[in-house]
């Protein structure tokens, strides 16, 4: 049984607490709030030792857990990953915008939290792709629209998930990048990625929807088939007068559960996790180039590095 410590906010602890009964071969044993105001709010995780801070966790409680899950803001996460690495604890950590300085090939298992890869729809599509059913992927199309209140703060954070999905689906880095932004909407970006062998991705992301539901659509067109994951297809209707309203079906937190189980399984099986530091490094590097293309108003050309 792997003993897990959680470093993060109480709201995220609640999310992890809601899936704790789904977890095999692991349980929560410690909680360190990032926000001191969260106090004892690690209770949703179950019977855990709650410490005052991550610093205290690593200084005084390393015997209380075998591995650590970190959910922290960019910048903060890198330092915590360094601390976990120094303590030789396998780590699952928030998406990173920089590589932790202490990680090396000899470091304990490290898994960047790319939760978007574990969405049920994305997993189904990736399985189809990996099985060869769709043939060689040729085009990836993503529309991701979010309310500003539900969006990450920085542009780099907003584009990271879909940049990673594109590189993951095409198993490489783009050779060409062309980005457009809207002069009227600073929360809008679209980027056009060209991969080797004429493969391509077209992605638009906006954080300007009114408060409320978000929208996500991903299509991948392969040489032998295509897959479509579209919120539009997964709406039900409610009639309360005038035009009906659409209700997006809740897909639960199987993404979080799947990611955490993969982390635990990788530790148990002493193998690399399904997401590794190089994936995060690649996605970050491409994201930087996407933003650079917009700033420079230029096509960014990269030599594929696979």
């Amino acid at each position: 049984m792997i003993r897990l410590a959680f470093i993060g906010q109480a709201t995220t602890a609640e999310a992890y607490g809601s899936i704790r009964t789904q977890l095999h071969r692991a349980s929560w044993t410690a909680f360190a709030p990032i926000d001191i105001a969260d106090g004892q709010d690690g209770r949703p995780l179950g019977q855990v030792v709650t410490v005052a801070s991550p610093k205290v966790l690593f200084a005084e409680h390393t015997n209380d857990f075998d591995a650590v899950v970190i959910d922290a803001a960019f910048g903060q996460a890198e330092n915590l990953v360094d601390a976990a690495s120094t303590a030789s604890k396998p780590t699952l950590a928030s998406p990173l915008l920089a590589n932790p300085s202490t990680l090396s090939p000899a470091s304990p298992l490290f898994m960047p939290a790319h939760t978007w890869r574990f969405l049920p729809s994305i997993r189904a599509i990736k399985r189809s792709l990996d099985s060869g059913k769709l043939g060689e992927p040729g085009l990836l199309r993503i529309h991701r629209w979010l309310p500003l209140t539900a969006s990450p703060q920085t542009l780099a954070e907003r584009i990271l998930p879909d940049t990673d999905l594109a590189c993951w689906m095409f198993d490489g880095e783009p050779e060409k990048i062309w980005t457009l932004q809207s002069s009227d909407n600073p929360n809008y970006i679209q980027f056009h990625l060209g991969y080797a062998n004429d493969r391509m991705a077209m992605i638009d992301i906006t954080s300007s929807l009114p408060a409320g539901c978000d929208y996500f659509s991903l299509s991948i067109i392969g040489g032998a088939g295509a897959a479509y994951a579209d919120d539009h297809h997964n709406m039900n209707l409610i009639y309360t007068g005038s035009q009906p309203n659409a209700l997006l079906i809740n897909q639960g937190r199987t993404d979080l559960a799947g990611q955490l189980q993969e982390f635990v399984d990788a530790i148990h099986e002493q193998r690399p996790a399904a997401v590794i530091l190089e994936d995060a490094t690649r996605a970050n590097a491409v994201s930087e180039q996407i933003i650079a293309s917009a700033k420079l108003n230029q096509v960014i050309e990269r030599k594929e590095n696979n």
């Binding site: 909407n185 809008y188 056009h192 991705a201 300007s208 929807l209």
Partner: protein, 369 residues
């Protein structure tokens, strides 16, 4: 205003592709087909198809276009020839003071499109480039945007995938086999309706079908595309590989008024969708977003021994053809412009040619106006 009861007499100038265009004209009560015409020097297969259509329609086939113009008291010409002849036939018709309805693509050369725009203006006639702008879902999109439902339009995206095959799949040509001849392939493809690019000059999907999504964008935004960046691929069909034309493309668009957008288009193979393909419109405005399935409304029909190639979801309430012809009749009656006129068609063609250039250079390309 002209006589609203007048029935317009149309000549069909070549009908070598699917016959949806002249049939749509014939189906409208304000129009009648009176003759099929083509040049005497056209190849035999063209004459055969023209004759077949004339016989089916119960009208004569004349192998002399100019003579038809003088002998049949015509009001308009319906051009449905090989792509590279569209503009030439249309210009000859306009010079005979005939209005014109032409199939897409407008031409395989931008210079031809410019020539046609000039001829239409000089002869003060009307020109309609066939399009899908009056599909029910597209009308709904337009109404939503024009009503301000999503505020000021900021971005528009069209996904336009035709899940049709087009002959042998990529990679199936055996060593020693000759490359597929484009025209021969298109002639053979007539049987299953996948001969959208019929002509001597090979044309990719961006050229064949691009007018549809770009027509949506033009109508929905009322803006010209200023610059494009494009990736193209031959991902599916051996005929496209052998003739170096795309069957998959993505285009980034910069339009007037700061609007941005994109187009994903392809002929992605029949196995890729249960129906004709995933065709969607996504629009973002200052107050929200809009997601539209272009194929709706539709009904689903399944039954034992259903042919695999039969669409299981059938579009219904599709009055696009009728409404286009109504729109054209209105243009003739009131001397206003039809929904996609020669200048619109030319500007869309210019966008397509700029996109194709961008795909070759790997750089953004300005659209020439």
């Amino acid at each position: 205003m002209a006589d609203p009861q007048k029935k317009f007499r149309a000549a069909v100038l070549s009908v070598v592709k699917h016959d949806y265009l002249p049939m749509a004209v014939a189906a409208h009560p304000r129009f009648e087909l009176v003759v099929v015409a083509d040049d005497a020097g056209s190849p035999d297969w063209v004459h055969e198809r023209n004759q077949q259509f004339a016989d089916k329609s119960g009208i004569p086939y004349v192998r002399d276009v100019a003579k038809t113009f003088t002998d049949y008291d015509l009001d308009l010409a319906v051009v449905s020839s090989e792509a590279e002849r569209h503009c030439d036939l249309a210009v000859r018709a306009t010079d005979a003071q005939l209005h014109v309805i032409a199939d897409k693509p407008m031409s395989t050369r931008l210079s031809d499109c410019d020539r046609l725009v000039e001829a239409v203006q000089r002869n003060k006639v009307k020109f309609l480039l066939w399009n899908r702008n009056l599909l029910p879902a597209v009308i709904q999109t337009n109404e939503a945007i024009q009503s301000g439902a999503i505020g000021q339009l900021q971005a528009i995206h069209i996904d336009f995938y035709f899940s049709k095959d087009a002959g042998p799949t990529k990679g199936t040509r055996q060593p020693g086999d000759p490359p597929i001849n484009w025209l021969d392939h298109q002639i053979e493809a007539h049987a299953d309706g996948s001969d959208g690019g019929v002509g001597i000059e090979a044309v990719g999907e961006l050229q064949i079908e691009g007018v549809y999504p770009l027509g949506y964008i033009r109508m929905l935004t009322g803006a010209n595309v200023r610059r494009v960046f494009t990736r193209t691929a031959t991902h599916f069909h051996q005929a496209n590989v052998d003739n170096s034309v795309d069957d998959l493309a993505t285009v980034s668009l910069e339009l007037d008024r700061g609007i941005v957008g994109s187009l994903c288009i392809g002929r992605i193979g029949a196995s890729s969708h249960p129906d004709i393909g995933e065709i969607k419109i996504h629009a973002i405005g200052s107050k929200g977003g809009l997601v539209i399935a272009e194929a709706r409304p539709e009904v689903s029909i399944y039954y034992r021994d259903q042919p695999p190639a039969e669409f299981k979801n059938e579009r219904v309430a599709n009055e696009n053809d009728f409404l286009l012809m109504d729109n054209f009749a209105h243009a003739l009656d009131t001397d206003c412009e039809p929904i996609l006129n020669a200048k619109d068609g030319r500007d869309i063609a210019a966008t397509v040619f700029a996109a194709l250039e961008s795909s070759k250079t790997g750089q953004p390309v300005e659209v020439p106006y």
